[in-house]
C-alpha cells in the first residue's frame, strides 16, 4: 500500500554559487515530484533556506532527505509537521473588472482579507497572504469570475517555538 502524503521540508544550505542548481539537479535526476520550492537568504548570509513541498510516500521522503544530506552544501534538513509550523504564502491575482461581478469579488476579498493593490476600469489586482489552503479556497471562489492572471510565491515555513534550523544538524 502506497499512501501519498504532502510533506514540507526546510533545507538549510551554504549560500554559494550554484547551490540551488545542485539541489534541483538532484530532484530532477532522482525524479522527485516537487510541488513548490522557495529559496532565500537567511538571518546569516552564509546560509540560504530552501522550502520544498512535495508529494510522495514515506519511503520517498526518506530517500529525498538522505539524498539531500549527500550534498556537501546541505547543512540541515527539517521536516515540518503542520500543527507545529507557521506557514504562509503570498498570492497576487488580477481579475477582470466587470460590472455584474464587481460586488461579489469585493465581498469575497473582504471575507478573505485580500487587499486591493490596483484598481482600474478593466481590472482589479488583489494581494492575499496566508496558508496555502486558504489561498486555494480564494482562487476557487474567483473561478466563478474572469481571472486574468495569477501569481503565487510558494510557501515558506517556520517552526513554532524557539528552535532554529542552523542548530540542527540531522533530521
Amino acid at each position: 500500500m502506497i499512501s501519498m502524503n504532502r510533506y514540507t521540508l526546510a533545507i538549510l544550505v551554504r549560500n554559494q554559487f550554484g547551490v540551488l542548481n545542485r539541489v534541483t539537479s538532484m530532484f530532477r535526476r532522482r525524479r522527485f515530484n516537487i510541488n513548490c520550492l522557495t529559496v532565500s537568504e537567511t538571518e546569516d548570509t552564509a546560509y540560504s533556506r530552501i522550502t520544498v513541498l512535495f508529494e510522495g510516500d514515506d519511503n520517498h521522503k526518506r530517500q529525498l532527505v538522505s539524498q539531500l544530506y549527500k550534498l556537501p552544501d546541505v547543512v540541515s534538513v527539517r521536516e515540518f509537521e503542520r500543527e507545529e509550523t507557521v506557514s504562509s504564502e503570498l498570492l497576487l491575482i488580477k481579475m477582470a473588472n466587470v460590472h455584474d461581478d464587481r460586488e461579489e469579488i469585493l465581498d469575497a476579498a473582504n471575507a478573505f482579507d485580500a487587499q486591493i493593490m490596483d484598481y482600474s476600469r478593466e481590472s482589479i489586482v488583489m494581494q492575499m497572504t496566508g496558508e496555502s489552503r486558504r489561498i486555494d479556497d480564494f482562487i476557487e471562489l474567483m473561478r466563478d469570475f474572469e481571472i486574468l492572471e495569477i501569481c503565487r510565491t510558494g510557501v515558506v515555513s517556520l517552526e513554532r517555538g524557539s528552535s532554529v534550523m542552523r542548530n540542527v544538524t540531522k533530521l
Binding site: F17, G18, S25, R29, Q63, S66, K70, L71
Partner: protein, 556 residues
C-alpha cells in the same frame, strides 16, 4: 610563503600525500604543467594517450590502493574527455579528484576558445565539484576535495580552476594530509533486531557488495559466515573481497552469477546484505526478488537503504565496524540442513559445468589462473570476457579485481591496469575483448613508455559478444552491427608497433607457453586468444526475468 596558484595546487596535492597523477596537458593547464615540472622530484605525472585513460588510470590507482586517485585535464575537450571516467568512478564509488583548468575568470561564460561549463556537465556524476575563481580558496578547496572524495561512501570530486587563478600569487601554508572523517558503526537501533533475525534464520545468506570491499571487511565477513554457517555470495563489485578458496564462498551472484550462489540467495530466508545496493543485474525483477526473505542491510550510505529493495532491518554505518558490533550478539550455530542444500546446489553446478576441451573462454581463464599471483591486479573491460573473468579467475586478496561494474564502461580496462600498477608497483593483468580493446589500445603507448609489467589477455571472438549473445537469445539472431570479422586488424603486429611483445594463440597447446612468456615479461605483452564467436556467458538470467528463470545451459 607566497606561491603561484599552479604551485599552490601542486604543493597541496603533494601535501595531501599524492605521489602520482595521470593527465594530459593543454592551454588552460599549462601553468599547472609548469609546476609539475618544477616539483617533478616530489610528484610523478604519467602522460596518457587520451584524457579518458587518465581518468581510468586514476580510478584504477584508487581501486587498487584505496587511496585517492588524481587526474588532470585541460579545459573544453580535455575535460569533456574525462566525463566517462568520472561517471565510471561515480557509479562504482571510487575516490577520485579530477583537476581541470578553465579559461580566465573574466572570460567565463563568453564561450571563449576551449571554454566549457564542466562543473555544470559533471554535476550529476560527482559527489561535489568546485569552480575556483578566487586564489585565496584554492588550497582549502583541494583539501576539501580529498576529504569529500574519501569520506563516507567515496566518489569523484572535480576541481575546475580558472587560468588567472593558476597565474596569480598568494600565501600558501603547508598543512598535513586531510584524514577523512572516521567511518562510524551503526548505532544500537536495530542491532539487536538484526541479530535476532540472523539467529532465528534457517537459511541465512551473506551478500557482499562494493561497500564491503571499500570498508575492507574481509575478516569480519568470513568470521560471520563461519559463526552462522552461512554461504557468501558477491556482487560483481565485491569480486576479490573474499579469497576464492574460502569455505562457504559461492562467488558471483546475479545475472551471470554462479548457479549455486544465485539459487542460494533465492532460497534464503534471511539475506545479510553488506554494502550491496541490489542493482538490477543482481536481482533480476526487483518486485519479485527475495520476497520471502528477511533482509538485514548494512550500508554507509543511508540513501541506499531505502532506494530499491526494502530491508527488514537497516543498519546505517560502516560495514566492517558494524559487523564488529553485531558479532557479539550472534549465536554461533551449525545449520546442517542448509549446508546440505548448498552442497546439492554446488553439485548441480558442477554437473552442469562447461567441461569442453580446446580454446573455450573458461579454459583460457583457468590457464591464466596458473600464472596469477596474489599481489597481481586483474582489470577487465566490459562484456562477455568480464563475466568469464569474474566467474573463473581466482583471487587471494581484496582490491585485485578491478572492473567497471556500475557504468559498464568499455575502454576502462587499459587505463585501470596502468593506474593499478602505479599504485601497487606490481604486475597488472588486463583481460579484454576485441571490441573494448579497440576503444583503449592507444594507451598501450603509455604502458610501453613507462615499462609497465602489463599482461594483456585479448579474447578475440571477432564479435561484440555480449550484445551478440542477447541478439541470439532475444532478437532472433538479427546480428545488427556486432560482427567484426571484416576487420583485418593484426593485433600482434599492432602490439609490436607500440613496442609491446605479442603472440597469437589458436590452440590450448600454444596457450601455456604464450602465457609463460607473457607473465615473464617485465614490459607489456599481449596474448591474443582466438575463441569462437558463439561462446555464451552462462548461466544467465534473462532481462526482466526473476531468479527462477535462470538459464544454466542453452537448450534447457
Amino acid at each position: 610563503m607566497v606561491l603561484k596558484g599552479a604551485d599552490i595546487l601542486v604543493r597541496s596535492l603533494i601535501d595531501q600525500g599524492c605521489e602520482v597523477v595521470f593527465g594530459y596537458p593543454g592551454g588552460s593547464v599549462i601553468d599547472i604543467y609548469d609546476s609539475l615540472y618544477r616539483y617533478q622530484d616530489e610528484i610523478t605525472h604519467i602522460l596518457t594517450s587520451h584524457e579518458q585513460h587518465a581518468a581510468h588510470a586514476a580510478d584504477g590507482y584508487a581501486r587498487a590502493t584505496g587511496k585517492v586517485g588524481v587526474c588532470i585535464a585541460t579545459s573544453g575537450p580535455g575535460c569533456t574527455n574525462l566525463v566517462t571516467g568520472i561517471a565510471t568512478a561515480f557509479l562504482d564509488s571510487v575516490p577520485l579528484v579530477a583537476i581541470t583548468g578553465n579559461v580566465a575568470t573574466a572570460n567565463i561564460g563568453t564561450d571563449g576558445f576551449q571554454e566549457i561549463d564542466i562543473t555544470g556537465i559533471t554535476l550529476p556524476i560527482t559527489k561535489h565539484n568546485y569552480f575556483v575563481s578566487d586564489i585565496s580558496e584554492l588550497a582549502d578547496v583541494v583539501r576539501e576535495a580529498f576529504e569529500i572524495a574519501s569520506s563516507d561512501r567515496p566518489g569523484p570530486v572535480l576541481v575546475d580552476i580558472a587560468k588567472d587563478v593558476q597565474v596569480d600569487r598568494y600565501d600558501y601554508q603547508r598543512r598535513n594530509p586531510v584524514v577523512p572523517d572516521p567511518r562510524e558503526a551503526a548505532g544500537d537501533e536495530g542491532l539487536a533486531q538484526a541479530a535476532t533475525i540472523i539467529n532465528n534464520a534457517k537459511r541465512p545468506f551473506i551478500y557482499v557488495g562494493g561497500g564491503a570491499l571499500a570498508s575492507e571487511a574481509t575478516k569480519e565477513v568470513i568470521a560471520l559466515s563461519e559463526a552462522i554457517d552461512a554461504p557468501i555470495g558477491n556482487s560483481l563489485m565485491a569480486t576479490s573481497l573474499i579469497p576464492s578458496d574460502t569455505p562457504r564462498f559461492l562467488g558471483l551472484e546475479g545475472m551471470h552469477g554462479h548457479y549455486s550462489s544465485t539459487m542460494a540467495i533465492k532460497e534464503a530466508d534471511c539475506i545479510i546484505a553488506l554494502g550491496a545496493r541490489f542493482n538490477d543485474r543482481s536481482t533480476g525483477d526487483r518486485t519479485k526478488f527475495a520476497r520471502k526473505a528477511k533482509v538485514v542491510r548494512i550500508d554507509i550510505d543511508e540513501s541506499e537503504l531505502s532506494k530499491t529493495v526494502s530491508g527488514k532491518v537497516d543498519l546505517h554505518g560502516d560495514v566492517k565496524l558494524t559487523l564488529q558490533r553485531l558479532y557479539p550478539l550472534i549465536k554461533p550455530q551449525e545449520r546442517p540442513d542448509w549446508a546440505a542444500r548448498i552442497a546439492e546446489l554446488k553439485e548441480f553446478e558442477a554437473e552442469n559445468a562447461d567441461v569442453r576441451e580446446g580454446m573455450t573462454p573458461k579454459n583460457v581463464m583457468l590457464a591464466v589462473n596458473e600464472h596469477l599471483e596474489p599481489e597481481m591486479t586483474v582489470t577487465t573491460d566490459v562484456g562477455q570476457h568480464q563475466m568469464w573473468a569474474a566467474q573463473y579467475l581466482r583471487f587471494a586478496r581484496p582490491r585485485t579485481f578491478l572492473t567497471s561494474g556500475g557504468l559498464g564502461t568499455m575502454g576502462f580496462g587499459m587505463g585501470a591496469a596502468i593506474g593499478a600498477h602505479f599504485g601497487t608497483n606490481k604486475r597488472s593483468v588486463l583481460v579484454i575483448g576485441d571490441g573494448g580493446f579497440a576503444m583503449c589500445l592507444n594507451d598501450l603507448a603509455t604502458a610501453v613508455t613507462n615499462k609497465v609489467p602489463l599482461t594483456v589477455i585479448l579474447l578475440n571472438n571477432s564479435v561484440l559478444g555480449m550484445v551478440r549473445q542477447w541478439q541470439r537469445l532475444f532478437y532472433e539472431e538479427r546480428f545488427s552491427n556486432t560482427t567484426l570479422d571484416k576487420r583485418v586488424t593484426d593485433y600482434v603486429a599492432l602490439a609490436k608497433a607500440f613496442g609491446a611483445g605479442a603472440q597469437r594463440v589458436t590452440t590450448t597447446d600454444e596457450l601455456g607457453p604464450a602465457l609463460e612468456e607473457a607473465f615473464a615479461s617485465d614490459t607489456p605483452y599481449l596474448v591474443e586468444c582466438v575463441i569462437d564467436k558463439d561462446e555464451l556467458v552462462m548461466p544467465m538470467l534473462p532481462p526482466g526475468g526473476t531468479l527462477d528463470d535462470i538459464i544454466v545451459r542453452l537448450g534447457d
